[in-house]
């Protein structure tokens, strides 16, 4: 008897299904709480949840719920249980059975690079889409120099692109002190001897040296080719800063998303920052040219993924369609951004402390701290 084969599917391959809106059936075998909290989503994805421990003796309950003839991807937290269940399915005669390489941990850590544009002076702008967590980060490359904005904890994908382009990292910036993920900014800055820029009002308690992001003090990438213009836009945090690149692109951090707006409560000062958030969204951003392409630091729903997986939207169009920009009554705005908010991201207080340098958890703990969705928007589920 030959052993039935099951195939490992990488996070990159799953990403192809999501971006292409292709059909994929997922059997998620984590426990119910973990599944309810956070799962793989996409317009072509259908998933069901049966915990692996209910399938140890017999695989029949799962077989009954699988669609006939369709490939099945089994998913668990780390990999082992999904491989076990996938093998049971294959032994029972199912064809095209896959399991997710690295499980949801691997899924949380995968970054998909998407080229956004060629810049006017010959540079390039890339967006890195962290599919599993909804985090977005950016790289600007010009004349052999590069800058990274809102870096994820995992820096391999950036290092790969830097090597491919033969570029040296000179600047690393975070739009704000992140509460949903651990910034890779400090690690990258140290590795490449680059400058690490942070908004000073968010960085009052940090334990390491950094360069202050100041409005009007532009950052140059590549021999005065690409100008990155910081603008002070408080609200999600008191220091939140946006960047305008090449007069075309507005990196809005966690202030403005494609289908929602940032929440002001993750540093415990929601009531204090409501006014700042409103001022930024309804006055400061309003004065910017409508043609700017908004490139946020997060997305919450697969519906925000555009062509080739990019997350972007024109500022003028967002002013027409984003529900967060249509709350004209101030009191209603205050209620929307302070009440009935989604749960806060996991371990967000420890994540903030880690980003300040006050905590130094080991890699395994950092990974655990980041498990789950980002939940930085007002309208997240």
């Amino acid at each position: 008897m030959t052993t039935p084969t099951v195939t490992k599917m990488s996070a990159k391959e799953v990403t192809r299904f999501i971006i292409g809106k292709e059909a994929l059936f997922i059997l998620d075998v984590r426990n119910e709480d973990a599944y309810q909290d956070w799962k793989i989503e996409g317009e072509g994805i259908v998933s069901i949840n049966i915990p692996y421990y209910e399938l140890l003796d017999e695989i029949e309950p799962a077989l009954k719920q699988l669609p006939p003839e369709q490939p099945v991807l089994v998913v668990c937290a780390k990999e082992g249980s999904s491989q076990f269940v996938a093998e049971q399915l294959a032994e029972a005669g199912r064809k095209d059975v896959f399991y997710l390489e690295g499980g949801m941990k691997g899924w949380s850590e995968y970054l998909e690079p998407v080229k956004i544009a060629d810049l006017s002076q010959g540079g390039e702008l890339y967006q890195f889409v962290r599919m599993g967590k909804g985090c977005l980060s950016y790289m600007i490359i010009s004349e052999g120099e590069a800058a990274i904005i809102d870096s994820a904890r995992m820096t391999d994908a950036y290092q790969q692109l830097l090597a491919d382009k033969g570029a040296v990292l000179t600047h690393v910036m975070d739009t704000h002190l992140h509460a949903d993920h651990i910034s890779g900014g400090r690690t990258l800055a140290a590795k490449y001897d680059a400058q690490y820029h942070l908004p000073p009002k968010d960085a009052e308690e940090v334990t390491f040296d950094y360069t202050k992001l100041v409005e009007g003090s532009n950052i140059v990438v590549g021999k005065e080719e690409i100008i990155v213009q910081p603008i002070y836009t408080p609200g999600h945090t008191i220091g939140s800063t946006s960047f305008i690149i090449d007069d075309q692109y507005l990196l809005s951090g966690d202030i403005l998303f494609i289908e929602s707006i940032g929440r002001p409560d993750l540093a415990g000062l929601a009531e204090d920052w409501v006014g700042d958030l409103r001022e930024t969204l309804y006055a400061r951003y309003k004065q910017l040219p409508e043609h700017l392409m908004v490139l946020p630091a997060h997305f919450a729903s697969p519906s925000e993924l555009g062509e080739d997986g990019r997350v972007a939207g024109q500022l003028g169009v967002l002013y027409q369609h984003n529900p967060g920009l249509h709350i004209h009554d101030e009191e209603e705005f205050r209620r929307t951004v302070t009440e009935n908010l989604p749960p806060q991201p996991h371990a967000y207080q420890d994540i903030r402390k880690t980003n300040m340098g006050k905590l130094e958890p080991d890699e395994d703990t950092q990974r655990e701290m980041e498990i789950g969705p980002n939940r930085c928007a007002v309208h997240d589920n």
């Binding site: 119910e32 709480d33 421990y53 140890l56 780390k78 082992g80 076990f84």
Partner: protein, 75 residues
């Protein structure tokens, strides 16, 4: 806490801690207590969810130096 049987699942990854626990549980009588040691971080949530779904009771659990200990009373 007293136990009637001990499962050492330290160093084992999912699904083995639950596979071993389940097998050991089959050898116990209702009301007897199984002690389980594991190092897999996911084992806490999975074992308590498993116990709940199978009618066993997770009586107590501790964590010390990365080793999780569970006491499960057979239902």
């Amino acid at each position: 806490m007293n136990h009637d049987k001990l499962v050492d699942a330290t160093g084992l990854a999912c699904p083995l801690p639950i596979v071993r626990t389940k097998k050991a549980m089959n050898e116990l009588q209702s009301g007897q207590v199984l002690e389980v040691h594991a190092t897999d971080k996911g084992s806490k949530n999975d074992l308590s969810a498993w116990a709940k779904s199978t009618g066993h009771e997770l009586v107590s659990d501790t964590e010390e130096n990365g080793v999780y200990k569970f006491w499960i009373k057979k239902g």
